[in-house]
Amino acid sequence: MNHFLTIEGLSKEDLDGLLDDADEFVEVLHRPIPKVPALRGKTVATMFFEASTRTKMSFEKAAKALSADTMSFSPGTSSLSKGESLKDTVLTIKAMGTDAMVVRHQSTGAPWRIAEWIDQPVLNGGDGAHQHPTQALLDSLTIRQHFGSLDGLKIGIVGDIRHSRVARSDAQAFSALGADVTMVAPRTLLPVDPSVFPAEVSENLDDVLGGLDVVYVLRVQAERGGASVFPSLPEYTARYGVTKERFARLNPDAIVLHPGPMNRGVEIEGAVADDPRALILDQVFNGVAVRMAVLFRLLGGEHDG
């Protein structure tokens, strides 16, 4: 593995291998001193061209738990605002001495472009509405921890799938790991051609709700604004919100996940988010472990635990 850019094309074995590694790092993170010297002397640059809090902090925590040094970049303070090209920005940061770059960019494909320009590992921290592969790993790990396996599980991904890199990566990862995935959204929030994803499609949450083992609730991306894709937030909540009433109709063993940040009262009701069967903070914790697994895979030598 030279880079970690996409879930597309990864097999069950590839994914299980990464999740097995992540399980070991979960154990590391539970130790009194949650740190190993695996990447001592390496420098990981987190290049977040689009604002992010949790993913950036999670990658930095993961790098530090492996004893790597970190450097960070954020667009507000950079020369991007002075008109520098992406290539020049990246080569400049690399020249300071990096060993790997974690890239978040609002434009689809940016991490691939960067991977063409530098001869060191690039990790996709989310590109456009395209891919967010470490999110798919942490979601898969959370579900695997809870059920033991994803094989045969019924997983509904609900909400703004069209604009969601999480949904794209998750649908591919969950399906590769053996789950049956259904994308649930009004047509304006579905991909124009959903047939390219290994998933069923439904425009009616109430039709599929009772059969689900996992309800994966996507954030309504109000900040994208501009295009009007549903009539109003209350009308969205009425049809697609995971309310207490809908939660009560779930299979009693079913769990609820959300990638955050949540709009409480819009796509998920506060009481549901705070229920023990909502594993949202487990997802966040697991994010550090899967990012350790990927960084170690790309930068480490033999895994000595």
Binding site: L86, K87, T108, G109, R113, H130, R165, P194, F197
Partner: protein
């Protein structure tokens, strides 16, 4: 001036094709026949010989955007590709929307002297879509093709007035047929690839709704109407239906829409980013068929140079378009398979006719102007370099069949084997 012989090619004349030499003297064709002699002989054995190619759609970026291309480098690329005349789009800075600006472009073209550089004029002032450009001034300096290319003339009422104003004189409205509302925010064809990439798409309907609307205005006004860079199967069908009704409508396809479909965009290399975007396989195949059967009248390169640093960005920030003058003939030959007659019809005769360009697109005849090119339709080669200022070409490193052998502009050899011969100024 020396006498030049184009020797041993298959010459397309008004009475069909014949194996013959052509003797060029004093800017004209002096003789067509066997075993001619002159000061310099260029071997054209195995080549198709016909009129120099004519492009109704290129961007030379001068004035104002010379970091991308200028009239000198654009002319060199055109000559290298077998062209002897190029209509350049008015989306320069300033926009070619008045007589003196059009005259400037034409004059610069004459100073360079490698091809006839013919300005297209804007339909609206500043291409802003608000009020008519100085259509009479433009007409007076020889402009016959009017386009807001880069932007659609979106206001149907304004387009109708432009059509009414130009109809009686036979001016051509050349439309960049992409609806703003349907294309807003889009960066590639809306379909399976855009869905997978999570990118906003531009549906095929964005082109079709403008073409459909405009054809109704053509019916109403009788104006000549030309669809630029046709990209959809729906557009091809509408053009065929309009021609069957006898409307004064013509259409153009760009080489890249013949060569590629939207799968080429999957890797998000901006060299495949165009407007209209590379569309579905079905659309691409309909364009190839339309060019062969004549529904699509011409190939227009939409030669769109951009500087290298402008391409060193993610797809969504990259500008639209690719360069194409040097390889258009080869791309058409590789992907559309025209015979010699259709090749020169679509790349020279018809564009000169639509653009009302004097001394161009004329089949070789004794006494006629020596604007000629020879094309080797069988040679296999891979372009590795360009004479354009820009390098935004998907054809560099791509295997192509067919290559321009020699270009003659007003009796002077301007390119050989894909390399332009004179620098211009």
């Amino acid at each position: 001036m020396v006498d030049v012989i184009l020797a041993g090619g298959t010459v397309l004349t008004a009475s069909g094709t014949q194996e013959a030499d052509i003797r060029i003297a004093d800017g004209c064709i002096a003789e067509i026949g066997p075993s001619l002699e002159g000061d310099e002989t260029i071997d054209c054995a195995g080549c198709w010989v016909g009129p120099g190619l004519v492009d109704l759609h290129a961007h030379f970026r001068e004035p104002g955007l010379e970091w991308k291309e200028d009239i000198t480098t654009g002319s060199r690329a055109a000559a290298a590709g077998g062209y002897t005349a190029v209509v350049v789009m008015p989306n320069t800075d300033p926009v070619t929307d008045s007589g003196h600006l059009a005259r400037y472009v034409a004059t610069r073209g004459e100073e360079v002297g490698l091809v006839d550089v013919i300005p297209a004029g804007a339909v609206t002032k500043g291409r802003a879509g608000k009020e008519l450009a100085h259509l009479d001034e433009l007409w007076a300096v020889g402009v016959r093709v009017f386009s807001d290319d880069g932007d659609v003339v979106g206001d149907a009422g304004l387009l109708r007035r432009a059509m009414d104003y130009l109809a009686a004189r036979g001016g051509v409205i050349s439309q960049h047929a992409v609806d703003v509302g349907l294309s807003r925010g889009g960066h590639m064809h809306e379909g399976s690839v855009s869905s997978l990439l999570g990118m906003y798409g531009i549906p095929a309907a964005a082109d079709d709704v403008i073409i459909g609307r405009d054809l109704r205005l053509v019916e109403m006004t009788g104006a000549r109407y030309h669809v630029q860079h046709l990209s959809t199967a729906g557009g091809v069908a509408m053009i065929a239906a309009a021609k069957a009704k006898g409307l004064p409508v013509t259409a153009e396809v760009a080489p890249h829409h013949l060569a590629f479909d939207h799968h080429a965009a999957a890797g998000t290399d901006p060299v495949y980013k165009m407007m209209p975007p590379l569309r579905s396989t079905e659309d691409r195949d309909a364009l190839r068929r339309g060019l062969v059967d004549g529904t699509i009248d011409i190939v227009g390169t939409d030669h769109a140079p951009h500087a290298e640093h402008e391409e060193e960005v993610p797809w969504e920030q990259a500008p639209n378009g690719v360069i194409g003058l040097e390889w258009a003939a080869a791309v058409v030959n590789t992907f559309a398979g025209l015979d010699q007659t259709a090749f020169f019809e679509r790349l020279s005769v018809a564009p000169a006719r639509i653009g009302q360009i004097a001394d161009q697109g004329l089949l070789p005849a004794v006494g006629g102007p020596a604007n000629l090119m020879a094309f080797d339709p069988t040679i296999e080669w891979t372009p590795e370099s360009t004479v354009s200022k820009a390098r935004n070409s998907p054809y560099l490193g791509m295997a192509l069949r067919g290559k321009p052998k020699v270009t003659v502009h007003r009796g002077v050899v301007t390119a050989r084997d894909g390399v332009s011969q004179r620098g211009g100024t």
